[in-house]
Structures are given as C-alpha cells and as structure tokens.
Symmetry: C2
Subunit: 393 residues, 2 copies
C-alpha cells in the first residue's frame, strides 16, 4: 500500500504542469501536444480517419462536427472561389447567403446532445426539447426491428428499405424547399432513444446513399465509442466499404472530439475553435486506460461477458415471455425490453433494492452499461439477481 | 526544492480520486460536490445570484443559459399550465409550438461562442460565422464611444441613447414578426470585437429596458470574469440596481457555468444537463486560485497595475497622437487603438520580436491581457518596450 501510494504520487508529480494549468489549446498547445494526441486518441482512430479535433464535451463535439460539414459543403459549392462581399456582410446579421439555410438530417429516437444545434437532431424525449427554438431540419425513421432477428429477416429487411427510402425522400424534399441537407448524423446504436439497432446492411446502404447525394455521414460514437460494444468503435462491426466522413466521441474517451477525413479539414485557422478544446490531463488518463485495454485484452473480456449477459437474457425471454422480449446488444452494450413501461420501471426499482444499478432507455428498455472490466462472474451475479426478481413477478 | 516537491505530491495524492475519474456530475455527483461548489464558484457569486449550473466550456455555458431563459419565458407565458399534447408532439420534429420561435437579442461586435446557438449571437468577425446556418435573431448596435471620455460626454450619452432606442425597437419588431425576444446577451466589455466599453449608465438603462419588456438580461463574463477588470466580476462596476438575471463564466474561472436567480431555476430534472457538466479537478485548482487572490489581495494588484498601464498608454497617445488613441480599460483589461489596422499589426509583430506577446482585437485595437500577478514593475517593462517601438515608427 505504501508502495502503491508512492507510485501514484510519482505519476501525479510528473504531471504537475498538466494538472495545475488549463491551457488555451488551440492557441498555445504544449510542445508535445501532437505527440500526446498521437499516443492517445489518434492511436485508436477508426481506420481511414487520420484527422482529429478535440473538444470539451460530447455536445460540442457534434456541434463542431456540424460546422466542419457545413464548411465542406459550401466549399464544394463554391468551387475554388473565395467568400463574396455579400456573404461576409450577410453572415454578420445571421442572414443568407453568408449564414446559409443548410440542414443536418437526423433520426427519430436519436440523441446527439443538448446545445441548440445538436438539440435540433435530438428526438429521444420531448422534455429534452420543449420550449427551445430549433432549426427546421428533417427527421427520418430509424429502423425498429422485430426480435429475435433470425426469425424476422424478411420483415427487418423491409424495415431497412422503408427507412432508407424516407431518408432519400427527405433529402429531396429539403433540397426543394431551399434548406438542403449537408450531412446525416446517426448513432450506431440509438442509446438514449431505447437501444435501437440498425443492421450492418442498413448502415452500408445509408453510406451509399450519402455518397450518391453528396452529403456527409457523421457517426456519433459518443455513447458507443471506447469499447463497450466489444470493439473500440461500434461502427467497425458494420463492414462499411469506406470510412464514415466524421466520427464523434466523448464519455468513455474522457475527452470530447471528432475524427474526420482530409476532406473535412478546414483550411483557415480559428473557424473550428474553442478556448480549451478538451482537457490535457484527461488525455493522460486516457493513455493509461488505452494501455490497460491493450495489456489486459479488455475488449475480449467485453465480448465474452457480453455473450454471457445476452445469452442469459435470451434464456429469460424464452422462459418469461410475458415479462421480457427483444434482448439485443453488441459487447456489453445490451438491452432487453420489458412487456411495458410500468413493468420496466418496477424491475429497475427492484434491481436497485437488491444492489444493482441499472437504467432504462426509450419507452420500455432495461439497458445494461457495465464498465469494461465487468467479467462473466459479475454477469452471473447480475443474471441471478434479475431472475430472482422475474420469479417474484 | 525537495520539500516543495513533496508538498505538491501530497496535494495531488489527496486528490487521486478526483484526478483519475471523470464523473457524470449531473447524475452521480460526489457526496461533497455541493460543499465543493460552495467553497469555490459559489463563494464568489455575483451579489444576488445564488443559483449555479456548471458546464464544460464557455460556449456550452451560454448555450445552456439560453435554454434556461427560453424555459422561464415559456413557463411565464403558460401560467401554471403543463405542456400540451401538441407541444410534446411538435417539438419532436423541431416545429412550433413545442419548438417555439423565440430569439435572443445580441450586439454587433459581440462574441459569445462558436456552437450553433451562441454563434447566432456572435458578430465579431465574418470568418467565425460564414457558411454556418444561424437563427434569425436580432442584432443591436453596441455603443462606440469617442475618447477621451471626459471630453466627449454629450456625444457618448447620445450614443447610449441611440443604441438603447435600437434595442427597444428591435424587441418590438421581432415581437411583431412572431419571433419574440426572450433574452438579451451582452458582454460588460466587448472583448473579441475590439474592447468596446459601455458606460454604467448604458447598462443600467439596458437592465431597466429588459425589465420593462419582460426579457432576461444575460451578462456574459466569460472573458471579463475572474479578476482581470480589477473586480471579480466586471459588471459589479456598473452599480446595477438589481442583479442581472444570468451571468455566464469560463476561462479564468477554470470551469464553465452560469449563475442565475431563483426565477431561472428549471423545475424538472435533466432539462439542463450535460454528462460532465464541468470538471471537478479544475474546481480544486480554482479553490487554490481564489485562496491566493484573497490572501495576496491580487485584485488590488490588478487595479494598481492597470492604472500604471492605462496612464502610460494615455501618456503615449498624447505624445504620439498620430500612432495611438482611445486608451481604455478596467483593471488590466486594457486596449488602445492604433491609427489603422496595418499599423496595429506592425506594432504587434515588433512587440513579439522584442519578447512581448500581445494580441489584437477588433479592427485596430492592441489589447492587453496580462495575468493577475502582473505587477507595476512588469507594466513598466512593457511600456518601455512599447515606447521604443513607437519611437522607431
């Protein structure tokens, strides 16, 4: 213990300057900042996305990713031309053409944050949005599948098609009404909205559509990124033929930010900027977290534990079909629906009374979000507790 | 040195849990979080503002303050009634009445951040805004004074009146076009926009007007707060008859957030929320900073040093009137205008060549933003360097 304490103190002592300062990163990065990024967030960048902008939280990450998307959209429209005098003047009073009518398409049930831009793309609960002005941006249906997937292949394929047709249609509609779609934002798993999953085929087709329409595809991995799905990035499991244009992150990554392709790099300085642009001390913690993930093969643990949890829940839904259904998940990012919202709430309370902190999402889902070091033995304790509750109901 | 290192290590060791974790503060605050806030940010709250919400950066602070303002506005309109079914449904697709057309009035030359909501209130430079969609919100003129103030009293009073009349007129216009103003956002000193000052009388009248019109007054102290103006909050120097409704902060305060009155407290949980809502380790650093500010009477040093700087600049503008004019400031938050933009840039380069890092703001201002521990002896070194450059020009 004395040794352990000493070691920890040594670690902090070496980070003294990082811990007691709060630098304006974009203006005065430390000499080693690029190296710090390379050995942390950039070392786990999704394949093909070698550009990064760090930010202070998830909402800011999405907000600034939108900005990069709008700038790339207008740059392409402009060809090589510079800003016009009219653009320079009109934007100063929030008017077109300088402040153009451009939109981001999002999905019903989505959650992308709470500041005014991203809140226009959040549609999980009315209480998050009510009373707050919003941009007139289009909202498409996100697939809602029938489970178990293997018994409902045809219906779910039809659901994918229905949603994709709507996306295409909305892009067309908004273009016609003079508010064209510059980008699509989507979660790999709609977390806050109720753990809705889209199939790999859905995401592949969505990417194809986005390329055909010339709009950006932004995958929001704020909730799913950092390992809980059994891979560092959930969208890696979709086998997309090429990288998404932008991937945002926060939460488990300990700092906010977004990865993007060269195409979304902004030419002029200060167009994407924030005084703090993240927090260097958290990059230090992230480096250690990533080191442990690698050293202990933590993502394998997530996959193995996830199998135990998901198989356990599938077993329960077979044995208690009047209580539970639609178990689904990737890694330990798992949910199961209760028969109704009241029952879900009751199960959550009973779990808490028995010492298990689980949450709800969407209308009737029980969601599991254990830490990355949650092991099969812990999963079995949870399943035992849950079954004791199911037996009582 | 050995002792010093040991002491610092001890400090960090006691904060181990704070330093290696990144809690979801709004959901799982630590047991002592309220005490931590009371002994840091709340201990220096502007008079009359005993409510606080912490946030991760300055942009998020203003964005969330806007949300509190919109919610209070609609709550008052609604009387005691709850949300209607129509509101609950329409907001989910970004439409009125759930997502109402409501606006925030801001000022030409203002800077309030870069995410999409607050960017609609930023008007300092076109490059910050161009290509990004904006809300159709009104923009009023901010007073532009003639200096020295003592020689231009009548003209500057007329300027105050002109701007206030425009504010009243815009509130009327936006109400008529169905996009009523719910709040006014203003900096005590327009920093990014060129160090434009408003007189205490201007701010008093603006508050009076905001109360008459029933709109919130938000004072953005992200740049001015934390001591550089010689008081912890710049607006304290305006002798407002009652507290502003909301005051936002970030930067020197090391964490973002906003103070507000009881009236702007949100009834339901999760309506104003962010996963991190700030960073507890920075609250620890802030506690130490505030302790030193008090112990060493640092704000007095700021005022004394500010006098040395401002008097020095006034002396220069008298002796080099073809080069410099309009020296102005509070505390060490000081600026002086160069005769033109090219000259300003030249002076900044020459300062840098001589080892002085100063910045520009607005069209032709040289702005001084020394740290709080910048003393008269440092001010004299700076003035000596600047004069050597003025002599060369």
């Amino acid at each position: 213990m004395g040794n352990l304490r000493m070691r920890n103190m040594d670690v902090f002592s070496g980070l003294r300057r990082t811990l007691i300062n709060r630098p304006a990163l974009g203006v005065y990065p430390s000499k080693n900042w690029v190296e710090e990024l390379k050995s942390s967030v950039l070392s786990v960048a999704p394949k093909g996305l070698n550009q990064i902008t760090t930010m202070a939280c998830g909402s800011c990450s999405n907000e600034n990713a939108f900005k990069a998307i709008f700038m790339r959209y207008r740059k392409r429209e402009r060809g090589g031309a510079g800003f016009t005098a009219e653009e320079n003047e009109s934007c100063m009073v929030n008017q077109a053409p300088g402040s153009p009518a451009l939109s981001i398409l999002s999905f019903h049930g989505a959650f992308h944050g709470r500041t005014l831009g991203v809140l226009s793309c959040t549609h999980s609960k009315a209480i998050h949005k009510i009373d707050i002005p919003a941009f007139d941006w289009p909202v498409a249906p996100f697939p809602v599948y029938k489970y178990p997937l293997e018994d409902n292949i045809r219906e779910n394929q039809a659901e994918d098609k229905r949603c994709l047709a709507q996306v295409a249609d909305l892009i067309e509609q908004w273009s016609k009404k003079g508010n064209p779609v510059a980008g699509i934002i989507i979660e790999p798993i709609q977390a806050e909205g109720g753990d809705h999953h889209g199939s790999p085929e859905f995401f592949q087709q969505l990417q194809k559509l986005s390329k055909e329409k010339g709009v950006a595809l932004l995958i929001d991995e704020v909730q799913t990124g950092g390992g809980p799905c059994g891979t560092l990035w959930c969208h890696e499991q979709f086998n997309l033929p090429s990288p998404p244009d932008v991937v945002t992150f926060s939460k488990k990554m300990l700092t906010g930010g977004f990865y993007h392709t060269e195409e979304y790099k902004v030419d002029q300085s200060y167009r994407i900027f924030n005084t703090w642009m993240g927090e260097p001390s958290k990059i230090q913690v992230l480096k250690k977290v990533l080191e442990v993930i690698k050293r202990d093969d933590v993502l394998k643990n997530v996959r193995v534990t996830g199998d135990v949890l998901l198989n356990g829940l599938k077993d329960f839904q077979n044995r208690y079909p009047q209580l539970l259904n639609s178990a689904r998940g990737r890694g330990t990012f798992i949910a199961v629906d209760a028969a109704n919202s009241g029952l879900r709430d009751k199960v959550l309370v009973k779990l808490r009374e028995k010492g298990v902190n689980a949450g709800g999402c969407g209308e009737k889902a029980i969601r599991l979000r254990p830490s990355l070091v949650f092991e099969p033995k812990h999963a079995n304790i949870f399943l035992g507790t849950l079954e004791s509750i199911l037996k009582e109901l």
